[in-house]
């Protein structure tokens, strides 16, 4: 049986096809988010399915997650990202006790018990501080692509402290820092440290190791290191962190 998991996030739509006979992901992919989320998600899943070739079984069940999940009306069920990321991590890093997920507009700390069941979670407040959106604002202001931030940060010699975590105020602050001659690499490193401190503050005293880092921001080089430094614990990036939520959704589709 093939199940599909769709994670309709604020920046990208991710999909994973899971084959329960093989107990394996048989295809996966991601596309940029757009206005017509339902159509985009449907096309992505259709493409992934067609890439499996002729004779593939149809998708038996679909679970949608992510902030746009309610728009995916062809899904059989809709489940929140908290539960889906936990299910995905339970497969790829089963000993995990804390998940840190940083996506386009949310960041989350999810605490798991020994069996991988969600005990508790925290999510950021309504502002973009500490999210992928915050990094996007920074990238735009520095005139680089989001995926270039990682390369840039590797050049940092002296991370610049960023005092404002509001995306709007931080942009103003960055303008001032650039005008003051600070190197963009140091600014990016400072931003990553600020995001990590915010997540660390949200996690509070309740961080139990091992820690697994998921979500699109986990792909940004330097972020895991910054998080590790802020939390004071090792942080492992999940395999294919962008797809963890969609993977969990596909796995949960087996249970509905």
């Amino acid at each position: 049986m093939i199940t599909a998991g769709i994670d309709a996030g604020s920046r990208t739509i991710k999909a994973v096809l899971w084959d329960s006979e093989k107990s394996a992901v048989v295809n996966s992919g991601a596309i940029d988010q757009g206005v017509e989320q339902r159509r985009l998600a449907g096309e992505l899943v259709e493409r992934l399915l067609s890439e499996l070739g002729a004779g593939r079984p149809p998708i038996a069940r679909t679970v949608a997650t992510g902030y746009g999940r309610n728009l995916i009306d062809f899904a059989d069920a809709r489940i929140t990202e908290i539960t889906c990321h936990a299910a995905g991590v339970a497969l790829v890093a089963p000993s995990t006790r804390t998940i840190i997920e940083i996506g386009g507009q949310d960041n989350k700390v999810i605490r798991l018990d020994e069996s991988g069941t969600v005990c508790d979670f925290d999510m950021n407040d309504r502002c973009a501080a500490g999210t992928g959106r915050f990094l996007e604002v920074v990238a735009t202001r520095l005139g680089v692509q989001l995926d270039e931030l990682g390369l840039l940060v590797q050049q940092s010699r002296c991370p610049t402290p960023i005092s404002s975590m509001c995306a709007v105020f931080a942009e103003t602050e960055i303008v001032g820092l650039l005008a003051g001659g600070r190197h963009p690499a140091d600014i990016v490193a400072g931003v990553q440290a600020a995001i990590s401190l915010r997540v660390s503050s949200m996690a509070g005293r309740n961080v139990v190791c091992p820690i697994c880092f998921t979500g699109g921001v986990a792909l940004v080089p330097g972020m895991a290191k910054a998080l590790q430094s802020a939390l004071g614990h090792p942080v492992a990036v999940a395999p294919h962190p962008l797809l963890t939520g969609a993977l969990g959704a596909a796995l949960l589709a087996l249970e509905i």
């Binding site: 929140t80 908290i82 069941t117 969600v118 005990c119 508790d120 509070g204």
Partner: protein, 461 residues
């Protein structure tokens, strides 16, 4: 009981109203269609709510939404109006001891459904007076005083100072130079007694040093004098004691309602109506006797539903303990839409739900209750009480609802959540609910749904 319980939208309630009337429902003078409040008062937010289908719930809503009419009626009948501000549950008991006084709660203006649509401009008036949206939505009260559009201006404002929220103080202080005289009385910040210090146990179980109780008693003595001057006659101990007994009747009904509703296997009353009912303990919607009737009807309905095994939600609903009132009533509907139910609340005024001692001199009794206010002491005291209630009521999760700008909430939520986590291990969630939360609804929905999923997941263990 009138048929299986349901949740109805405003239009459905109109049809339901006709059917209840046809079945012989008798309504009080303030009864009628719920939908009329949209046209008469601009309470357009009501269009977005789901209501319990019982006649008792209809009575509750109509009672709440006609308070302004009642206040005008009191004024027309020659009674003096007392705005009891910040104090939650003490000054109204004193004011109602006189047949010539009626207390009400101007702070409550922030909570009116029409405010939630920003349709009456109260917040814009507050903005113009320098009380902007960095303040708690209680600032709507300022607009209501200036425009006079919500309630008749009371003859006396009695406002507590000291251990009260900064926002509230700033807003109330803004009223004075605008020509609304405020009678201030001080409530000290409750502290734990020093070793060896003479102390007493307050109603509800907290402790306070006797010297703080004495100070509060003296302050309430000043309030009594102010009320006597307004009433034009004495507020003697006998009338105060009678008022305390009447207040306790309401508190007992409310406790019975809450306990039954919170512990029933299937939730017999929606979260929204439970929230509204609790507010009656504070100020009686300007009619203490009718408050009792409203609560008794609700209690009878809940008893009948429980006896019949009927509820408004699935028996599997996640049992959520809710802290603080919401600034947008729709969030109580949302909790249930996400698969949760109320199994307990701490809406900031737990001291207004406990009995006022009847075997003490009345001002002593009222002073002890005033100091039992969860908001005048350390957040840890409140967290401890919440934990105890969560255990008693079998809660599976905690939601702390934060009110934007409310300074008493900014750190308290963290303290309560941490305490509950460490002492119960249950999942907790803090959300911010602004008065107009439309843009926040998807995020609020996700958070509440994730909490419910977490509770359900933990049950399987």
């Amino acid at each position: 009981m009138n048929g299986p319980p349901q949740k109805l939208c405003l239009d459905e309630w109109d049809a339901r109203h006709a059917s209840l009337l046809a079945d012989g429902m008798r309504e009080p003078a303030y009864g009628g269609l719920l939908s009329r409040h949209v046209g008469e008062r601009g309470d357009t937010r009501l269009r977005h709510l789901l209501f319990d289908s019982s006649a008792a719930a209809l009575r509750l809503w109509n009672f709440l939404l006609t308070e302004e009419d009642r206040l005008r009626g009191h004024r027309a009948a020659g009674r003096k109006l007392v705005g009891a501000m910040k104090d939650l549950g003490t000054v109204p008991v004193m004011a109602f001891a006189s047949p010539d006084l009626v207390a009400f709660y101007p702070d409550g203006a922030w909570w009116t459904p029409c405010l939630m649509e920003h349709s009456d401009g109260l917040l814009a008036v507050a903005d113009r007076l320098g009380i902007d949206d960095s303040f708690c939505p209680v600032r709507a009260m300022l607009g209501a005083f200036v425009t006079g559009s919500h309630f008749p201006i009371p003859e006396l404002l009695v406002c507590s100072a000291g251990a009260v929220c900064d926002d509230f103080s700033a807003i109330a202080q803004r009223l004075e130079p605008l020509g609304f005289p405020v009678f201030w009385w001080e409530i000290p910040r409750r502290r734990s007694p020093e070793p060896g210090e003479s102390a007493l146990t307050l109603p509800g179980g907290l402790e306070a040093p006797e010297c703080q109780i004495a100070l509060t008693r003296l302050e309430l003595g000043r309030v009594r004098l102010a009320l006597e001057e307004l009433a034009g006659g004495p507020l003697d101990d006998a009338s105060l004691s009678a008022s305390i007994r009447a207040a306790n009747l309401i508190r007992r009904r409310l406790r019975a309602l809450r306990d039954l509703a919170f512990t029933a296997e299937a939730s017999p009353l929606p979260a929204l109506e439970l929230l509204i009912a609790e507010m009656l303990a504070l100020h009686y919607c300007s009619d203490r006797d009718e408050s009792l009737v409203v609560l008794e009807r609700l209690l009878a309905e809940v008893q009948a539903r429980v006896a019949a095994g009927q509820g408004v939600l699935s028996v599997d609903a996640a049992r959520v303990f809710w802290v603080n009132p919401v600034a947008d009533l729709r969030v109580m509907n949302l909790l249930e839409e996400c698969g949760g139910r109320l199994c307990g609340t701490d809406l900031m005024f737990g001291h207004a739900l406990v009995d006022i001692p009847e075997d003490l001199p009345p001002l002593e009794a009222l002073a002890r209750v005033a100091l039992a206010d969860p908001m005048v002491g350390p957040a840890q005291d409140r967290a401890r009480m919440i934990c105890a209630e969560m255990r008693r009521l079998g809660a599976e999760a905690l939601v702390v609802s934060r009110i934007p700008g409310a300074s008493h909430c900014c750190r308290e939520g963290d303290i309560i959540r941490q305490f509950v986590r460490e002492n119960t291990g249950l999942p907790t969630l803090e959300i911010e609910v602004p008065p107009l939360s439309d843009a926040m609804m998807p995020a609020l929905h996700s958070r509440l749904l994730a909490l419910v999923e977490t509770v359900i997941g933990r049950r399987a263990l």
